[in-house]
Amino acid sequence: MKKILRYTFAIILGLGLCSCDKLFDSLEGDLSKMSEEDMTSSQAGMEALLSDVYNNIPMSAFNTKDLNTTLASYSKGADYSIDVTGFWDYKKMRSINYFIKQVDVALEKKAINKATRDAMLGEALFVRAYCYFAAVRRYGGVPIVTEPLDQYYDGDKNEGLYVKRSTEKETWDFVISELDKAAELLPEERNDGKYRATKWAALGLQSRVALYAASVSKYWNKESIPSQYKAVEKKLTYMESSYADTYYAKCIEACDKIMNSGKFSLFGGATSSVSTAKENLTKLFQERQDCEFIFGKSYNNGLADATNSFDINYSPNQAHETITNGGWGNYSVTSDMVDLFDDYDGNGARKDGTVKTRNDGKENVFFSQIVNAASNFDKDAPFVEYARPQDPFQNKDARFQAWVLYPGADFRGKTIVAQGGIWVDGKDPVFYENSPFTVGDVTYYGLGAKNEAEMSAFFEIGKGATSNHAYFWSSCFGIRKFLDPKQALKYSTNPWYDIRYAEILLNYAEAVAESGKGDAAKAKEVLNDIRHRAAFTDDVELTLENVLHERRVEFAFEGHESYTLYRRREYLNTRSGNQYRKHTILPVLDLRDGSPKYIFARVNLYHGDVNLSATGLNTDLLDYYGAIPNFNINDLTPNPSQE
């Protein structure tokens, strides 16, 4: 009996070996994740969270939307789609809102001090305002969520989760007032990160937002949207011109604060030397110039493979780096853009910069589809003959020379070859083909060089998806801004200027010109400051036309154009003749009299020439308001285009 008792005891002991949860709690746990406790217990943890907050900014760095406008084009095809970056990512919004709560948790734990807490809160508010700015410009009024909604989730009706859309005006006002709060909290200068938001970043963004809201108010009804739409009736997609002045005033106020701070100036300043201007305007985009940098992003992450592949994608075919599966030469600049750059009249004063190709002045005549047996080409047109391909561009704005590659330009030790055709005596001109012609002892080629490696444009254009044409411009102009002037790079580390001082000046000038408020004299002065940096010595008047012209030129390829068109409701309007279309100039080697000369034929850009009607695009005006995602599930009023 004693024995049996002993064994019974042994059994109970044996079965009890793995006493419930102790075994599981003794494990190391989940090593693939950090706990919330880890994140909020140190400043480094909070900065790791903040890093993700910053990554949520819908900034269109280098991935520029200008390629969808008439000013530039992808080389392999023409895109005209109406498109501005929007924001409908409430997951990101939740993590920003969550971070806003966590800054106080970290402060309580003394993981960060009060100053850091204020700065981090200001940064989060800044980023959140940036996101809602992107949301309102794309969708009109959106649901404004300013805290994590966990408390409203009950698994059943979840009522608190169905946040309604605010009106468009409320949303704009929200963004502007949040930026006031952010400007209050953010420091004027930062020694803990040159790319973190400052008070001036908040004010700079505010000036942009206010100008945007003002333009939308003023031009919202430019082409009337019928009011029977629910979203219009509820003012979710509704602004009116009476709102405009307040916003212009807010823009002027924000600009004034920055301009009066004395912290910023245009890099390089006024000069009368075109070459000095060109040098300054190149340098500005190669490295961060603190005096002009208000907010932006760094691509210099210290790693061998930095994330910016701008240089490799957009370097011309004649001077590029190669990476596996990479492309290059994929940024063509149209003649519509090139014509906008003014000429110097000889005394440094402004002169119309439209490239002179004909003696009869008919610069608005474009040949279309001349690839087809040259049938649409007018052989008797009075073309201007030039000795060298670069001759038509010699007197252009320093900004053109610093930012645009053109035929005959010197770049990275090469002379850019971008020739679109050849014309010998007694024959039809040949376009887009690299046909050789021997005149005298010299053999000339249709595209300017024997080998494809020695040219930058037009090679194998239209040859289908598998050919190499994507590596060659479909125009004779390519982008130069942001490219390293000396060598091709696999990964460039140039910073991106999201908000630079020049924008503040032009925002100011536009707000004053549009509203008549503010200091008109100062507005004229700052408008001309920008021109003076580009070696213009004269002054232009403060007119809306002059301001917008300057904006297009100064911010060439920086992605401002599509937003300008969008906010001013001009995206679908036609600016050249009756056409919204991309054009280029085709440099043709003219050998008709035996000696090489160059003529320039204005043509529709090869891509897109086939599909577009002569009247341009027919995009629905309602597309200024994007479709509300999942409006059924979200129980939201749909936008007009969805009704």
């Binding site: 599981f24 900065e47 990101k92 790319y195 979200n634």
Partner: protein, 1068 residues
């Protein structure tokens, strides 16, 4: 009357067939007799042999026999199920045979113990060593094929060391594999992907040596639930051989195997291909693909122009594999041992000199009685596997690259054979260069070391009480080194450099380590009183696991010297490491009760805990029970059907648990994001975010299993079989709560135990065995029909179907798996288009946006007129009909034959599947569209009667064939837009049923009389072949029907092999 006559004639016939002519001599005695069993019933087919000779007869249906034997000779009387007897010859012999207790008492290994076979209450199949090794297959998986009803084994690829075989029980996912009481997994190569391994149970079986196995039990129903986690898919219990008392026996066996691809497509000659390619372009109004100049080179037989079949070049003429094994078995009363070592070398079918697989393994089992009551068993195994293959990039592109290569381009430059040639068709990937090592290699070494110590204490004070403790430690180590090299490609005519292949010079080293510690304490008690038999078992067990890996990557740039990490560029280095640990524990209890050998009941339960879940959700209770009734033991039954020696009805019902999804979902955690943010130039701050809410509610899945079956047997196994109906519902599968919250909430809803899947099916087994004197045979046929459907799909709760078509495509809940996921139904054809006019006149459009004109560009003569089922004039997906799916066929079957005559044996195993289709994917590798070759069977296609001058002329006359007119597919390099193959057409969606002679083996054991002179115990010589014969749709035969369809256009992985094996086993 007629029946009677037959009854009397049959034994006579049998005797005539099988009796050996009697040798008459001096002192002959005529013997006549009857043989009955204990109940006085005649024993049919019992063998009466003159001992030491081959003389003998068998009994007839009445148990009678008669023959003439030398006087005084000893007769040996044997029959299956009875104990063998010896008697001295006498004129009249009436013999009663007794049931062979050892056979009836045959025990079967079940979970945490053994049971008498007759007392089983569940669907458990048992395979003993003799049956398993009857055929000398390379691995256990192959040996099991066709032998167990419900066990579906299907080979996917045939490359050396792949272990890429699917193992399914009743159509569920992989079952658990228990080796000597422990759950084991082994690395298995993921298909078409060189560097990724996953741990699987099928690979354990594939890597075990069949010779080392004592028995295998397959637990198919709720009886598996006793193993807890993972047992919902069934359990396969493997027991290895223990030493036996006696003088040491050494056994050596070897096997030499030659493998040939079962199917390699037969490519047409190059001129036919050129013409076909030009015909293909002409059919859609395009310029010829190949110039007449090029074609003329071949027609004229110009020097330097060769036909290069890249695809065929990938494979050796044959693969060669050899296997050697030595085992030592013996012991005394105190200690017994079984030790074995085996070596395996397989060069594989891929045609590269350095490629192949080698393994060396060891198994050692030692049993010792420490005291009278205490027994200790130590078991250990070690295995070293070493595999060399091509690096990942090369392998991923192999098969297709082969078919896309232009055939007029040789693989190396003829004037300089050390230079690999550039081929525009294969995207700068000269796969033959890669096979020969120019592209680098992938070397993987897997080492596994297992150890188990079991102590069993038999209580001296209470009969039937036993205590057992077991501790085991497994260690698994894997080293992978992958070297990728860029290599130059040259123009095959000029030997000028064209380009490099697309890879960078890079090296990756990866070390992976897993350890498992297991402990168990168990008490067994069994007792018999009167007619009652009672058994009880209680156990507790816990498993702890640790895994970790370390990986380093570097690139070489252009300067490659040798293959170590340190030799590569330090600036490009990347490294990473992970670590994880796991734990599970359980309490187990079981009670068996049996009354009078007739009624049996079993109740068992587990209380299981897993580290996966939040405290409070970790533990779950999984009970089950089973009942059985041996009807054949009832008196009334024995009176009614005396010949039915066994009939047992079984019922089982239970719940098993499983883990799903990821561990630690209950913890809110932050993951590192892919990108960081730069706050200051030159340094990056990594970002962390969390997009989910913590989820505490998720817990175990529950799988309900039911099985109703009966086993029957006539005349002690002459004919027998079993039938099982089974049902299973797996509930609580992890699914994201359906989208009922708005975007504004901003999180992904957590996963909960929501979804459910149901399986229903039936298993059948029919067997027959017989012995006539020296001739002995067994036949077993098995079949399984199993289907699956989703009974609950959370995602469909909130789904909004925009149209009936949308519903048809997306709603799968409640639909049986032949129609699941929208991809298992296809369009019906209503005859083929005979010519262009026919296409033009067809009133139905092939897409909503198309026009009649686009029908012309999308279809070619010979394609099927897709049936516009709903009559709306446009073919959409709703016009499809249900069809059997690809892969995992619902009906699978097997047949095993075994014959033994004297010292010869012959066995054959067949397997097959039905109710399944295969998509031959015409747009790629089958010679249509963008490949650079055409297979001979495709020559039977629609073509123009008068060449191809103007194919689009409606007046043209087309000659019909099986396949449609040749036409380039969408995406073809020289096609514009052509949706020719947008629809899966009846000619390529074909029945994939097959029946194949999986293995055939003949063996001969050298007679003992001969062996004793050379002091050998036994010598057996065998020859065998696998995949010898296949009956299937001839269209599918181009690829093997047993391989799965995959995205790789019918050609994925290395082909299956037809092997020819010779081998010997010697014991002394």
């Amino acid at each position: 009357m007629k029946k009677l006559l037959f009854q009397r004639l049959l034994p006579l016939l049998l005797c005539m067939l099988f009796s050996i002519p009697v040798v008459f001599g001096q002192n002959q005695v005529s013997v006549k007799g009857t043989i009955v069993d204990q109940d006085g019933q005649p024993v049919i087919g019992a063998a009466i042999m003159v001992k030491g000779t081959t003389n003998g007869v068998t009994t007839d249906l009445d148990g009678n026999f008669s023959f003439v034997v030398p006087a005084g000779s000893v007769l040996e009387i044997s029959s299956i199920g009875y104990a063998t007897q010896e008697v001295t010859a006498a004129p009249t012999l009436n013999i009663m045979m007794r049931e062979d207790v050892t056979q009836l008492e045959e025990t079967v290994v079940v979970g945490y113990g053994t049971q008498r076979k007759t007392s089983l209450t569940s669907a458990i199949s048992n395979i003993r060593s003799e049956e398993l090794t009857a055929t000398k297959q390379t691995d256990v998986l192959a040996s099991l094929q066709g032998k167990v009803p419900g066990l579906l084994i299907r080979q996917r690829t045939g490359d050396a060391g792949d272990f890429n075989t699917d193992l399914k029980l009743r159509g569920y996912d992989e079952p658990l594999v228990i080796v000597d009481g422990l759950v084991r997994t082994a690395p298995r190569r993921s298909q078409e992907n060189n560097t990724s391994y996953s741990n699987s149970s099928s690979a354990v079986l594939a890597q075990l040596n069949p010779e080392d196995i004592e028995s295998i039990s397959v637990l198919k129903d709720a009886s598996a639930a006793i193993y807890g986690m993972g047992a919902e898919n069934g359990v396969i219990i493997v027991t290895t051989k223990q030493g036996s008392i006696g003088a040491p026996t050494v056994k050596y066996s070897n096997r030499f195997s030659f493998g040939f691809p079962t199917a390699l497509p037969d490519e047409v000659d190059i001129v036919t291909w050129f013409k076909a390619a030009n015909e293909m372009n002409a059919n859609v109004g395009k310029e010829p693909r190949y110039t007449q100049d090029l074609i003329d080179h071949y027609i004229n037989g110009d020097e330097g122009w060769t036909d290069n079949k890249w695809y065929s070049q990938f494979y050796r003429k044959y693969s060669f594999q050899q296997n050697h094994q030595v085992s030592l078995n013996g012991g005394n009363n105190q200690t017994q041992y079984y030790l074995s070592v085996s070596f395996n070398d397989d060069n594989g079918i891929l045609n590269g000199p350095q490629l192949g697989y080698k393994s060396l393994s060891w198994q050692g089992n030692v049993t010792t009685n420490v005291t009278k009551d205490l027994k200790i068993v130590y078991q250990s195994s070690l295995s070293w596997n070493d595999r060399t293959s091509t690096p990942q990039n090369a392998a991923q592109n192999f098969y297709t690259r082969g078919l896309y290569s232009e055939r007029y381009v040789p693989w190396n430059v003829p004037s300089n054979p050390t230079h690999w040639s550039y081929n525009s068709g294969n995207e700068s990937r000269n796969a033959i260069g890669a096979l020969n090592g120019a592209n680098g290699y992938d070397k993987t070494k897997n080492n596994t070391f297992t150890n188990s110590l079991t102590a069993t204490y038999t209580a001296p004070f209470l009969k039937g009480l036993k205590f057992q403790g077991q501790v085991s430690y497994d260690f698994q180590n894997r080293e992978t080194r992958q070297l990728t090299l860029a290599f130059p490609l040259y123009d095959w005519q000029t030997d000028e450099y064209v380009s490099s292949n697309k890879d960078e010079n890079a090296i990756t080293e990866r070390w992976n380590k897993r350890q498992t510690l297991y402990g168990k304490f168990q008490v067994n008690y069994s007792t018999t009183f009167g007619k009652h038999t009672l058994g009880a078992m209680a156990a507790t067990e816990a498993t702890l696991g640790w895994a970790g890996d370390l990986r380093g990557d570097r690139k070489f740039g252009d300067f490659y010297t040798h293959d170590t990490l340190s030799a590569a560029d330090v600036n490009s280095q990347e490294n990473r490491g992970t670590r994880s640990s796991s734990a599970k524990a359980g309490y187990i209890g079981r009670i068996n009760y049996e009354y009078d050998g007739k009624y049996m009941a079993e109740v068992m339960a587990r209380y299981d805990g897993s580290y996966f879940y939040a405290p409070g959700y970790r533990w779950a209770f999984f009970p089950s029970y089973s009942l059985a009734w041996r009807v054949s033991q009832e008196e009334f039954f024995q009176n009614l059907f005396p010949w039915m020696t066994n009939l047992k009805l079984r019922w089982s019902d239970g719940i098993s648990g499983g883990n799903q999804g990821a561990a630690y979902q209950y913890l809110l955690g932050y993951n590192k994001t892919s990108s960081g943010y730069v706050f200051n130039d030159g340094s990056q701050v990594s970002g962390y975010n969390s997009t989910k809410v913590a989820q505490t509610l998720i817990s175990w899945t529950r799988t309900y299993m039911r099985d109703f079956g009966f086993d029957w047997e006539i005349n002690r196994g002459i004919i027998g079989g079993s039938v099982d109906w089974f049902w299973r519902e797996q509930t609580g599968k992890s699914a994201t709560m359906s989208n009922t919250v708005p975007d504004m909430y901003g999180i992904d809803l957590p996963n909960l135990n929501l979804d459910a899947t149901e399986n229903v099916g039936i298993d059948l087994e029919l067997s027959h065995r017989m012995r006539f004197n020296d001739f002995n045979y067994r036949i077993t046929a098995t079949a399984t029909f199993s289907r699956e459907r989703d009974t609950y799909q959370e995602a469909e709760r909130s789904a909004i179907y925009t149209s009936s078509q949308d519903y048809f495509e997306k709603h799968t809940e409640g639909r049986w798996d032949n129609a699941l996921e929208g991809k298992y139904y296809e369009w019906n054809g209503k005859g083929q288009f005979t010519d262009w006019k026919d296409i033009f006149d067809y009133p139905v459009l092939y897409s909503a946006s198309s026009s009649k004109k686009s029908n012309m560009t999308e279809m070619v003569p010979g394609m099927y007129k897709i049936d516009d089922r709903n009559g709306d004039g446009v073919i959409t997906s709703i016009d499809r009909y249900y069809s059997w799916k690809e892969g995992n066929p619902p009906l699978q079957f097997g047949l095993m034959l075994f014959f033994e005559y004297k010292n010869f044996d012959l066995s054959a195993t067949f397997n097959g599947a039905a109710l399944t289709h295969k998509n031959m994917q015409m747009s790629g590798g089958m010679g249509y569209g963008w490949s650079k070759t055409l297979f001979v069977n495709h020559l039977d296609h629609y073509k123009l009667a008068d060449g191809y001058t103007d194919p689009r002329d409606p007046q043209s006359v087309w000659v019909p064939g099986y396949w449609p007119a040749l036409a380039p597919a969408t995406g073809a390099e020289d096609a514009t837009s052509n949706a020719t193959y947008r629809f899966v057409q009846p000619y390529s969606w074909v029945n994939n049923s097959f029946f194949r002679l999986k293995s055939l083996e003949i063996g001969y054991a050298i007679p003992k009389s001969v062996l004793s002179k050379v002091h050998l115990k036994s010598v057996r010589i065998h020859a065998s072949a696998t995949n010898l014969l296949t009956i299937c749709n001839p269209i599918v035969k181009v690829w093997d029907p047993e391989t799965y369809q995959s995205s790789r256009r019918g050609a994925s992985g290395a082909p299956l092999l037809r092997t020819f094996v010779i081998g010997t086993s010697i014991s002394f």
